[in-house]
Symmetry: C2
Amino acid sequence: MNSGEQTVGEIGELALLDVILAELKTPDCATVANGDDAAVLRHSGDTVITTDTMIEGPDFRLDWHTGFELGQKLAATNLADVAAMGATPTVLTVAIACPPETRVDFLRQIARGLTHACDRLAPGTAVVGGDLATAKQLVCAVTALGEMCGRKPVTRSGARPGMVIAYAGLLGLSGYGLQLLAEHGRQEAERLCPRALYEHLTPSAAVSAGVTAAEAGAGAMLDVSDGLVLDAARITRASGVRVSLSSEQLQRVNAGRVDPPGPPLNSMLYGGEDHGMLACFQAASVPPEFTVIGQIIAGRPAVLLDGEELSGSGWDPFQNSGNLSSQAP
Amino acid sequence: MNSGEQTVGEIGELALLDVILAELKTPDCATVANGDDAAVLRHSGDTVITTDTMIEGPDFRLDWHTGFELGQKLAATNLADVAAMGATPTVLTVAIACPPETRVDFLRQIARGLTHACDRLAPGTAVVGGDLATAKQLVCAVTALGEMCGRKPVTRSGARPGMVIAYAGLLGLSGYGLQLLAEHGRQEAERLCPRALYEHLTPSAAVSAGVTAAEAGAGAMLDVSDGLVLDAARITRASGVRVSLSSEQLQRVNAGRVDPPGPPLNSMLYGGEDHGMLACFQAASVPPEFTVIGQIIAGRPAVLLDGEELSGSGWDPFQNSGNLSSQAP
């Protein structure tokens, strides 16, 4: 029997670990890697850390995502959070809990996807450790580290009136892809708009733009995980400012990279998981990969579109629990 | 209604986060803490990272552990892995996934336990970030970081013939506590041997001994998570040596700190989760908090007790899945 068709319960933890380790690389910064109580890393400057969990049901569906895609999504999400501080990502750790009947090949593909996304989005970065366990449903908890290399961290609180707000990466495609998946299932979503589908399954995540923005003196930054409006609102609250977006400028974000008409404006405003960088700059300092989409203005925190205040809409895993799994594919 | 009696599904993620953040401290090394895409830490020397998952069923039972105890156990387990490299622990990140019907107070108590164990085992260390999500069962994934402060990492591969092997911390109590819990339930276990019960629920974890050992020039070290014999076998394989343990010396480990007769020899050899430090030293360099329990000798990797080779016994989460939850309380 080919080990790929076996289940993790059949081959056990040690054999499974060998399968997974064969798909991983050693990160550039590691002086002690997998195989000891802990890994040891050489960072330049301060260390950045973020963690995120993805769970079968609320966060992904096994009939929508292959293991290879899920691995890429796990890496992209966490690398983007590190990049959004202006840091250079260095390593990931990955804790996976899954039912014993999970196929070995599915976990092998997750590992392969993690490595693929690291190579593509942040070369030199790799998985340096992790943990395997059993659970009733698939749970993946990823922690990502980065190094500041002497740069000043870019928080959410440095947006000031007079700055512009700009975005690097694709916008609204991932959310539109999710909508197509939920309404039509994977096969039909792929026919209707493959670009949106794949941005949802394996987000491009504008990781390298994070360092660029920090070097250009960005005053505030985050990556768009929960939708442009909700994430922009986080900057307004942390900085005590208003963000005034322009729908005309927003339409330029995807121009030249996505066939017209592109995702609907609603997906650009409220769709999440694109993991592009949303940053505020002095107008003269916007790096070329960023597109200006609005202004920072004084006043009570709020997000405006063409002068009208938008009501934010949030994602709450507890109050929305299971909504993906209850939708028909 | 008191928020402690509400469920996480009732109050939602943002309110839950406020409850949890109120129980956390800011770690000494953080320059940017909770509330941004990622935290930023100032480490002295190289950075150490480890991750571990605990899952309801295979790893703990909610009728055995209070939230406060579970939080302490989560912290102790991960702090010990950092310490076992000879590093000073600095921060934890904690990803928790739980059913929406989980009581808010249970998660508050986990947070309180995490902070309590950090204060007790590694002052200055604290939880610097995390993630909350919903799942069918409680899953806790913890990542711990540490700083080498210029010390050389102590791996598993530096044990050499002529060294002694020594242990710091309590040995066999946690495993004995687990056995009592499984055989008699919590109330009776508490009556029979409270010390063993509480070492299982909230391990003492000899965290500070890790740095002491590194400074004394330890050649190899790990923390005893899976049982002395199994963990000693890891040193023998990584270093290409044999470990020869003495039952007479082993009996001295707990002397003066545990009322006689102490845990059975079997628990000392095969019980895990004490999280004491097992380290190899030149005989003249053993720090006072370590008790010599044997010798490193040349030969094919194996663990011996009083000259007889022991067969190791391993813990495989996939091949032992659910064994705790299937045991009668």
